[in-house]
Every structure is written in C-alpha cells, then in structure tokens.
C-alpha cells in the first residue's frame, strides 16, 4: 500500500443492505460451483463482482435471480426471503437483470421488448384482453408510452423504436436490454458483463449512464465485469470470487493490491513477485 491516506469508503456503502445473501453454496452433482459465499448489497451503491473465468460469478447471479436454487444458504431482498423464489417472483420483488449474451426477443420490436419488461406491473388478464375495457385500453397506451420513454432514456432515437430488435446495432441492443430491465421500475439492476463487446468510448458512456441511473432513479447496481477499467472506474466496492469462493472484498484500490486476488488472476508466481 502507498504512504497516502487509506481511501475513504463512499457513503453509499454505509446504507442498509437491500440484498443479503448468506452462506450461499451451490452444488451440481459432484461439482461445487459456489462455496459458502456471503454477500450484502447496500442500497443505492454500485458494486461489482469480479473474478477469473470459471469463478462462479454468473452462477452466483443466477442464484440471486432465482434461476438456480442454492444447495445451502439464504437470500433476502428488501426484507423478503427469496431464497427459492422463481425468477419472475424475484423480478416482481424488484430485481431486474440483463444477460451476458444479449437476450432480446427476436421477433419483437425494441418497443415491444421493453413492454415485456412492464408485464409484471400490468394488470390486464385474459378476459380483459379480449374485451378491452377502457381501463385495459388505457393501460396499453400507458405501457407503450412508457416503453418509448425508457428507450429514449437509454438513448435510442425514436425512429428506431419500431424496428425489430435484432436489426439494431450491438450497442443499441444492449441499451434496449437495459431499457427493458428498467421498465419494471426495479430497485436493483443486475448487469451481467454489460460492456462485453464494447469499445472504450462506449464503455465510458455506459459507466456514466450507470451513475446517472443511480442518481436519477435511486437504483442499486450490481455488476459482473471483466473490463478492469470499467470496474475500477465505477465500482464503489469489489467482491472477488475464485473457484466459487469469495477471496476478497473491499474498495477497488485495496482489492487490486490484494495478493490473493493477483494470484487468482495471474497465477502463483505473479503474486510472489508482486
């Protein structure tokens, strides 16, 4: 560590935890993908999970969002236990996510994709949809308007809103995916490698955008990232996983200098020289 003062942690880290995962273990048959990981996410913070390939980051994400049930452990979100909840229940509770490989709905337009994000907040049922009462009509209209609004918020120009999502550029597709997640008015946004495939300029735009999301919409953001510049630039706290275990957690500068972390990424010899 340098002779300078130890960095002061950002105030957001002191906020109460909106998401708490305790002693999460996940076994697939004989393979232990995640081992005894505890994790808290302070409200309105921007936090990253990093680690070398195969560390269990995406598995952990999938556990948090309900796609995998943990073998052991407990997860609470805003006071509600969601350990074994289905992904759609988790989403309704207030956690929205994007995916490592963009998963937009191929035969839908950008706007329609975003409208899916609003599904859980809408109320029209099967009979209402057939009969189309004035209330349902109004709900449809408002849902469409909100979809357009979210797309503009993420920077998609109006002329592209009614284009098929898969015909948009890669960067725009990423934005649409984020808009879709935002459309559900989540409290927490989980982004799985959002800058994959982006050039430095685009990555910088995205990190700026994340700050904007936190500031303007009070969101808490949890990232999985590989791009160290992004990680170091925007994260207020890092959690490092390796071989399914949490090996370090703390402020970026601290974690970066942690010999265990260096070893995990670069191998034993590197840390000895470190």
């Amino acid at each position: 560590m340098s002779a300078l003062q130890a960095p002061t942690p950002p105030p957001s880290l002191a906020n109460p935890a909106i998401l708490e995962a305790t002693d999460i273990t996940k076994q697939f048959g004989g393979l232990t993908a995640v081992s005894d990981v505890s994790f808290t996410l302070p409200e309105r913070s921007i936090v990253s999970i990093i680690g070398p390939n195969g560390a269990g980051k995406t598995t952990f994400f999938n556990i948090l969002t309900g796609f995998y049930k943990p073998t052991l452990g407990r997860i609470t979100f805003a006071g509600q236990t969601i350990t074994r909840s289905r992904p759609d229940v988790v989403m309704k509770a207030g956690m929205a996510r994007t995916f490592q490989n963009i998963r937009l709905f191929a035969t839908m337009t950008a706007a329609e994709n975003v409208m899916i994000g609003e599904h859980s907040g809408m109320r029209a049922g099967i009979f209402g949809s057939i009969v189309r009462t004035p209330r349902v009509r109004r709900e449809e209209r408002e849902t469409l308007e909100k979809a357009h609004a979210e797309l503009e918020y993420v920077g998609i120009p109006a002329r592209l809103h009614d284009h098929l999502a898969i015909n948009l550029s890669y960067g725009d597709q990423r934005r649409v995916e984020i808009a879709r997640a935002l459309a559900s008015d989540p409290k927490v946004l989980l982004l799985d490698e959002p800058t994959a495939g982006m050039n430095p300029q685009e990555s910088a735009q995205l990190t700026e955008f994340m700050r904007k999301l936190r500031a303007e919409r009070g969101l808490t953001i949890l990232l999985i990232e590989h791009d160290m510049k992004v990680v170091m630039g925007v994260s207020e706290r890092l959690t490092v996983l390796d071989h399914g275990e949490k090996i370090a957690e703390g402020l970026p500068a601290e974690v970066r200098a942690n010999p265990r972390v260096v070893e995990a990424y670069l191998g034993r010899s590197a840390s000895v020289e470190g």
Binding site: E20, T22, D23, D36, T40, K69, P70, L72, T83, R84
Partner: protein, 352 residues
C-alpha cells in the same frame, strides 16, 4: 451481520423428498403392476407360471423394441432430435425382410442350414436398406434444417413418417399381412418351471444381446464410436478436433437404421404378420423404452425395451390388447413428468 451458517433447512427436505420420489418412484411404479399380478396369480392358481409366461414373452418382445430404441437413442444423443420416422424405418425393415426371404424361396420346414443362410442374407439386406434409408432421411429432412428452430426437423420427420407409411400401405395394402412362419415361432423349445420358452423368444434374445454388445463395444472402442460420442458432447469442439461432423452424423443415422432393419426382420419372424401401421405404434413404444432407460444411454435403451415389453405383455394378457397402447403411453407420460432423464439417466448437452 449473520455470523453462523443458516442452511435452508426446510426447503432442503422438500427437495430431498422430490429427489427420492424421482429416483425410486419410477421403480416402484414399474414394479407395482407385476407384483400385484404376482399376488393375484399366487392366490388364484398357486403358481407364477402365467406371470412367467408373460415375462418371457415380454422380454423377447422387448428385445426387439430395445433394438429400435437404440437407434432412437443414438440419434438423439448426437443431434438432440427425435427421429419421428424411425419407427417407420423399422416397419420398412420388416417389409423388406418379408419380401426378400419369400422371393429367395425360403419357406417353412426347410433345412435349418438353408434357412439360416437365407435369413442371414435377409438380415444383411434389411440392415443395408434401412441404414441407407435412415441416412437419406437425415440428408433430406435434418441436415438442411440444422440451424432452424427445433420445430422444423420434427415436422419434416413427421412428414417422412407419413410418406413411409404410405409406401407401406401401397406395398402391402392396409391390412395385416401374414408371412411364412420360418422359424416355427410358437414352437416350445424348453419349459422351465412350467414356463414355456419358445423359438421366438430365443431368436429375439439371441440376436439382440450380441448386437447390443457389439454396439456398446463399437461406441466405446472404435474411432467412429469415439467421434460419435465427441460430436454428441460438443459438435463445435469435435469439428475443431478434425472430426467430420456431417459424416459422423450420417453414419450414426445409418447405424440406427441398420438396427431398426434388424429389428424389423426379427419382428417379422416373431409375429409372422406385418402391417404398414406397425411403425407408428412401434416407434412410440420404442421411444418410450428409450426415454425410460435414459435417452442417450445405450444400455438404458435395451433395459427400457425389456421393461416396456413386459408391461405390454402383462397388459395384453390381463387388461386386453386394445388397451395396451394406452397403458404404455400412460407410463410414458408418467416417466416424462417424474423422471425425464430415465432410469439410467445421462445428461445430454443441455441440462434441460
């Protein structure tokens, strides 16, 4: 804040229960019928001869389904597709066999040697024809649709199934056709504990077991077998390793077809009737067997076949032949619901 480990105790035991049901439930389900009937038999007749007869017939029938099921499972393992036309390839195998051995002049009562040579020749012809047929189906119905959504090749397979059925219909008309009983199928060879063992049973087992052993050895030892397993696991990686994926897939279909052809011959000799529609029901029965044993697993396919054969026989004998398909399908649905990976379940490429 949480210091101690808090395992999710309550929900864990629900999972455990579900796991137990999944694992043993199906075995219980399968044994329930036979055990119930065993008890009934013992109280009615004081012995298990009837059940024994059922089981012998079941195992020999089941061996045939096992052969067909291997074809399904091989193909599914490599392209993750149910070859809907497979059952009808089996039917064509029966038709080709029956036509061939009649045309070369085989008839009942000939010397064993002549029959033997004739039948081996028929076997070769049937296997060749069906292997080629299955390969052709792959070329025409599956290969062009490899990148299409899974629905597409399934539909073309159904289309081919109809085509083949129509071929059968035109070839031998819509009614069941009797064919010469070359091996004296009903002749009782031996009686063990009062249970009759007939020629047909011996034939079925005598052909299936060697073929199964041959297949498993082939898959695990030969180069093609290794190529097949590699392609089944990860086609991209296999391609990068220099394996010609297209050829491997074609050959897998060919082998599956050959086995279906062999099964067709045995079925013809066993049942002494053939019918253009036997492939539809037969295909579904064989598919049930493949799924029951664990799709992708060769031994499972044969095990599944034997089990389904027994279920069929018991149902035919106790409930009535017209209900048997419903019984088999009922088991199929139950397996899919409670244990889709089957008895010897293997993980296929996607975890589902």
């Amino acid at each position: 804040m949480e210091a101690a480990s808090i395992p999710a105790q309550q929900s864990f035991s629900v999972e455990r229960l579900r796991g137990l049901i999944s694992k043993y439930g199906i075995i219980i389900l399968l044994l329930a019928g036979p055990i119930a009937f065993a008890v009934i038999d013992l109280s009615d007749q004081g012995n298990l001869v009837r059940l024994g007869d059922n089981l012998v017939a079941g195992v020999s029938n089941g061996a045939i389904w096992g052969l067909v099921a291997i074809g399904y499972t091989l193909v599914y393992g490599i392209v993750e597709l149910i070859n809907f036309a497979h059952g009808d390839v089996f039917m064509i195998g029966s038709f080709v066999s029956a036509s061939f051995f009649v045309s070369i002049g085989l008839h009942q009562g000939q010397e064993v040697f002549v029959l033997f040579v004739g039948l081996v020749l028929t076997l070769v012809i049937a296997m060749f024809a069906c292997g080629a047929l299955n390969s052709m189906i792959e070329r025409v119905a599956y290969r062009p649709l490899r990148t299409a959504p899974k629905l597409a090749p399934l539909i073309t397979a159904v289309g081919f199934s109809f085509l083949l059925q129509n071929v059968g219909l035109l070839w031998k008309t819509g009614s069941q056709q009797s064919i010469p009983d070359l091996i004296n199928a009903q002749h009782t060879l031996a009686t063990i504990f009062g249970v009759q063992i007939q020629n047909s049973a011996v034939l079925a087992i005598a052909v299936t077991i060697p073929l199964l052993l041959l297949m498993t050895t082939f898959i695990s030892r030969s180069r093609l077998g290794k190529a097949m397993r590699a392609t089944a696991q990860d086609p991209e990686a296999a391609r990068l390793m220099g394996i010609n994926v297209d050829t491997t897939i074609s050959l897998t279909f060919a082998i599956g077809g050959m086995l279906a052809g062999a099964a067709g011959l045995i079925y013809a000799l066993f049942q002494t009737t053939i019918w253009y529609f036997q492939g539809f029901t037969g295909g579904l029965i064989a598919f049930t067997a493949a799924v029951m044993g664990g799709i992708g697993n060769l031994r499972g396919a044969v095990l599944g076949g034997l089990i389904i054969g027994c279920i069929q026989q018991i149902s035919d004998n106790r409930i009535g032949t017209s209900w048997t398909p419903a019984v088999v399908f009922g088991y199929l649905i139950l397996i899919m619901v409670f244990k889709p990976t089957g008895l010897l379940g293997e993980q296929t490429r996607d975890a589902g």
